[in-house]
C-alpha cells in the first residue's frame, strides 16, 4: 500500500441483492466523506478485465475471469479525476434511488437526469461499468436496464412475471425478448435447434416465409449488435434446453464482429462475459466459400468500405 493514498476495495460478494448493494453504496460514500474530512485526497481502485488475449503465441494463463490491470482514480494525481468522481457519485445517487424505489431506468434515462454534468452518453456508460466493477455486480443488479431490442419466434413457451408467453401459438410472429431475465421461468420447447440471425430484415423474411412452420426451431435476432438482455436470454435458452446454436450473419467484418460478440462476449463488458457468452455457437453462414458454392452473381458482392 503506497503512502498517502488510500485504496478502496470491496470483498467479493457472490449474489448481491438490492439491500446488500445499498449497504455497499453507503459504505463507499461514507469512506469517501471520511477521507475528505480528514484532509486526505480520495481515490478509487478499479480492476480492468479483458475478453481477448494479446499474446501472439497463445500460451498464457490469462482468463477473462481475472483482472489483468488496475485503474486508479485519484484527485491529487489527475485533475480530471474530480470530474470523473463527480459523475460517478451522481450516477450512484440515481442508482440508490432506483434500488430504494424498486424502479428500473435505462442508461439513457440516467444521462438525461443531468446532461450538463455528463455531457455525453458514453461517459454514463463508462461510469456504470466502473460501478459494476466497484460493487462486483452486473448492470441489471443496479436496476439499469436497456430498452429491449431483441426478438424471438418459433417453438418456444415461457413465463414472464407469471404471464405465459406462448410463441408456439403464432410461430411466425415475433415476440420481444424480456428485458429482465429474472422474470423469466418455465422455458418449454420441442425445437431441434436455435438459429440466431444478425439482421431484422432476415428475421422478418423468415417470418413472412413461415419458416417455423416447416422447421422446428427457435429464431432469435439482436437486430444488429445484440444488447445484454438478448445475450443473456440466449445463454439461458442454451443452458436450459441444451440445443445446438447456429449463427447467420453477413459476410463482412461487422457480421463477424457480431458473431464474436455472441460467442465470446464484448470487450466493453468483459467482466460479465462468462454470464453471456455462448461458445457452443456454430458459424452457419454466410461464409466466403458460399459465394462459389451457391453461384452468387458478381454484382451481389460489394467492396469493403474504409470502416470495414
Amino acid at each position: 500500500m503506497e503512502v498517502g493514498m488510500a485504496r478502496r476495495k470491496f470483498a467479493m460478494q457472490p449474489e448481491p441483492q438490492s439491500r446488500l448493494l445499498l449497504t455497499s453504496v453507503r459504505g463507499f460514500v461514507r469512506s469517501l466523506v471520511e477521507d475528505i474530512s480528514n484532509g486526505r485526497s480520495p481515490s478509487i481502485a478499479l480492476e480492468r478485465y479483458r475478453t481477448y488475449c494479446s499474446d501472439p503465441l497463445g500460451n498464457c494463463a490469462c482468463s477473462s475471469d481475472t483482472p489483468f490491470a488496475k485503474d486508479f482514480i485519484s484527485i491529487d494525481k489527475h485533475p480530471q479525476a474530480a470530474h470523473r468522481l463527480a459523475g460517478l457519485l451522481r450516477v450512484l445517487s440515481i442508482v440508490q434511488q432506483l434500488l430504494q424505489q424498486n424502479k428500473h431506468a435505462s442508461k439513457r434515462d440516467i444521462f438525461y437526469m443531468d446532461p450538463a454534468l455528463f455531457v455525453d452518453q458514453a461517459v454514463v456508460d463508462h461510469i456504470i461499468s466502473d460501478i459494476c466493477i466497484l460493487l462486483n455486480c452486473s448492470r441489471h443488479h443496479l436496476n439499469v436496464v436497456p430498452v429491449g431490442k431483441g426478438l424471438v419466434m418459433g417453438w418456444l413457451r415461457f413465463k414472464e412475471s407469471g404471464r405465459t408467453v406462448s410463441c408456439i401459438k403464432n410461430p411466425n410472429t415475433d415476440y420481444p425478448i424480456p428485458v429482465c431475465l429474472e422474470d423469466v421461468e418455465d422455458i418449454v420447447s420441442v425445437a431441434q435447434y436455435i438459429l440466431v440471425v444478425e439482421k431484422e430484415t432476415v428475421f422478418q423474411r423468415l417470418a413472412n416465409d413461415k419458416f417455423c412452420d416447416r422447421n422446428r426451431c427457435i429464431v432469435v435476432t439482436g437486430r444488429g449488435y445484440p444488447d445484454v438482455p438478448t445475450r443473456r436470454f440466449l445463454r439461458y435458452l442454451v443452458e436450459q434446453l441444451c440445443l445446438p446454436v447456429y449463427c447467420l450473419v453477413d459476410s463482412d467484418p461487422y457480421g463477424f464482429d457480431i458473431l464474436t460478440t455472441y460467442r465470446f462476449g464484448s470487450t466493453q463488458m468483459a467482466y460479465d462475459a462468462k454470464l453471456m457468452r455462448v461458445p457452443e455457437m456454430r458459424w452457419l453462414g454466410v461464409l466466403p466459400s458460399d459465394f462459389e458454392e451457391f453461384n452468387l452473381p458478381d454484382r451481389c458482392l460489394l467492396n469493403l468500405t474504409p470502416e470495414g
Binding site: 435505462s106 434515462d109 450538463a116 430498452v147 404471464r163 430484415t201 423474411r205
Partner: protein, 387 residues
C-alpha cells in the same frame, strides 16, 4: 398554375372546395396494383413505338409545400394536410434526372415481382433486393424510400398496395383489449412494460376489434418515456391507453391511433413530446399528416392535443437540463413556421422556443423523482392545460 376568372368562380361555388383539389392514393388489391403497373409500361411502349417515337416523361404529383393545402373537417375537428394536382416531371432526357427516372422503373419492376409472389416486404428488404439487383442505381435507404414515394405518386396507389409493409415500430399498452379474428384476444393491461408491438400489416390492423374503458389516449414521443410510464402503470391510475412510435410516427401506428379515435369518439388524445422543434413536428404529423406521404397520410390525421412539454412547464426543468439549439432544430422550426397548417397557439410556443434557442427533453422532469412524470400528466389533464 394561373387561375382564370371562371376557375376561381368555380372554386368559390363548390361546397367541398378542398375535396375537389385533393389528390388521393387508392387502396388496391395486388391484382389491381399489378394492372396499374402494366398500364404504365404499355403507355410507355406506345409512345416509344409511335410514328414520333419519344421516351415519355413520368408525371408525379409534386410533394412540396407549394402544392399542399389544409383541409378542415366539416363535421369533425380534424384538419389534415393534402396534396393537390400540381405535377413535377422525371425525365430521361435531363442529365441529372436520368438515374432517378430509371430508379422509378426499377422499383416498379421489383414491386410487380413481389406482388406476383403474394408477399409483403419491408422497405429495408426492398433496399437489399434492389442493391443486389442493380447496385449502380441504388446506394442508400433514403433513395429507395423517396423512389417508392415517386411510384406512389405516379400510380396513385398506397405504399401498402405495392406490397410494402409499414415498419412495425410502434407499441401500445393500457386499458384496451385487442381482438384479432382467428386469434385469441389480447389484454393490454397485463403486458410487460415494453407493451404490444403494432403490426405493419394494414390488412391485419383493419380487421382488429377493440374493447376499452379508457378516457384518454396518450401518445408518447420516445420509447424510454413510454416504458417509464408503463412500468409505473400510469394507465391504471388514469384510465388511459399509451402509444408510441418511438420517434417520428410510422403509418401503421397512425392508422391504429386513427382507428381507435373513430371507434371511441369520446376519448381525448394527448401528445407528450420534447420541448424542441422535432417534438412539435412529430405532434403535427399525428395531427395533420405529412407532406412527403401526402397522398395517403391525410386519411390518418387525428385530433391530438398538445399536453406537454410546453412553455408553461419550463419552470419545472432545472437549468442544467437545457441544451442549445442545433442547426437541425433551426431548420425544422423554419419549415414549421412557414407551413400553412400550424395553428396560432402552436406558432407562439414555437417562437418562444426559437427566441430562447434552447430545448429540453421530457426526461428532464425525472430530477423531481421518477414518479413525478405520472403526477405531472394527471395534473395537466385534470386542469385542462392543453392546446
Amino acid at each position: 398554375m394561373e387561375e382564370t376568372q371562371s376557375d376561381s368562380d368555380l372554386i368559390r361555388s363548390t361546397l367541398f372546395y378542398s375535396d375537389q383539389r385533393l389528390c388521393s392514393a387508392d387502396i388496391l388489391s395486388p391484382a389491381q396494383a399489378r394492372a396499374r403497373i402494366e398500364v404504365a409500361v404499355l403507355n410507355f411502349l406506345k409512345t416509344l413505338s409511335s410514328p414520333n417515337p419519344a421516351v415519355s416523361d413520368l408525371h408525379l404529383i409534386n410533394r412540396r409545400s407549394e402544392n399542399c393545402g389544409l383541409r378542415r373537417g366539416l363535421l369533425s375537428d380534424v384538419s389534415s394536410v393534402f396534396l393537390s394536382h400540381s405535377f413535377c416531371r422525371r425525365s430521361l432526357m435531363r442529365a441529372n434526372d436520368a438515374k432517378a427516372f430509371v430508379r422509378v422503373w426499377k422499383v416498379m419492376e421489383m414491386c410487380f415481382m413481389i406482388l406476383g409472389e403474394d408477399k409483403l416486404v419491408t422497405q429495408r428488404e426492398l433496399f437489399y433486393r434492389l442493391l443486389s439487383d442493380s447496385p449502380q442505381y441504388f446506394n442508400s435507404q433514403e433513395q429507395v424510400n423517396s423512389t417508392v414515394q415517386d411510384v406512389v405518386s405516379l400510380l396513385r396507389c398506397t405504399r401498402h398496395s405495392l406490397g410494402l409493409m409499414a415498419s412495425s415500430r410502434g407499441t401500445i399498452i393500457g386499458r384496451l383489449i385487442l381482438h384479432d379474428p382467428g386469434e385469441e384476444s389480447l389484454d393490454c393491461t397485463i403486458l410487460g412494460s415494453a407493451g404490444h408491438a403494432i403490426s405493419g400489416d394494414f390488412n391485419l390492423l383493419k380487421n382488429l376489434a377493440f374493447q376499452s374503458d379508457a378516457r384518454y389516449i396518450i401518445v408518447v414521443e420516445k420509447d424510454a418515456v413510454f416504458q417509464r410510464l408503463s412500468e409505473d402503470r400510469l394507465f391504471n391510475q388514469l384510465p388511459s391507453i399509451l402509444i408510441t412510435a418511438k420517434g417520428y410516427p410510422d403509418l401503421a401506428t397512425r392508422f391504429l391511433l386513427h382507428r381507435l379515435s373513430e371507434t371511441f369518439p369520446s376519448i381525448t388524445i394527448f401528445a407528450l413530446v420534447d420541448w424542441n422543434p422535432a417534438g412539435l413536428a412529430i405532434l403535427c404529423t399525428y395531427k395533420f399528416g405529412s407532406i412527403s406521404m401526402g397522398l395517403e397520410s391525410y386519411r390518418y390525421a387525428c385530433n391530438v392535443k398538445w399536453l406537454g412539454l410546453r412553455e408553461g412547464d419550463l419552470h419545472l426543468i432545472p437549468e442544467s437540463a437545457f441544451l442549445e439549439f442545433k442547426p437541425r432544430d433551426h431548420q425544422i422550426s423554419k419549415s414549421l413556421l412557414s407551413s400553412t397548417f400550424l395553428p396560432d397557439s402552436y406558432k407562439m410556443e414555437l417562437q418562444t422556443m426559437v427566441e430562447a434557442g434552447r430545448r429540453a427533453e421530457i426526461e428532464a422532469l425525472y430530477c423531481h423523482g421518477f414518479d413525478f412524470l405520472g403526477k405531472y400528466i394527471a395534473g395537466k389533464i385534470v386542469q385542462a392545460d392543453y392546446i
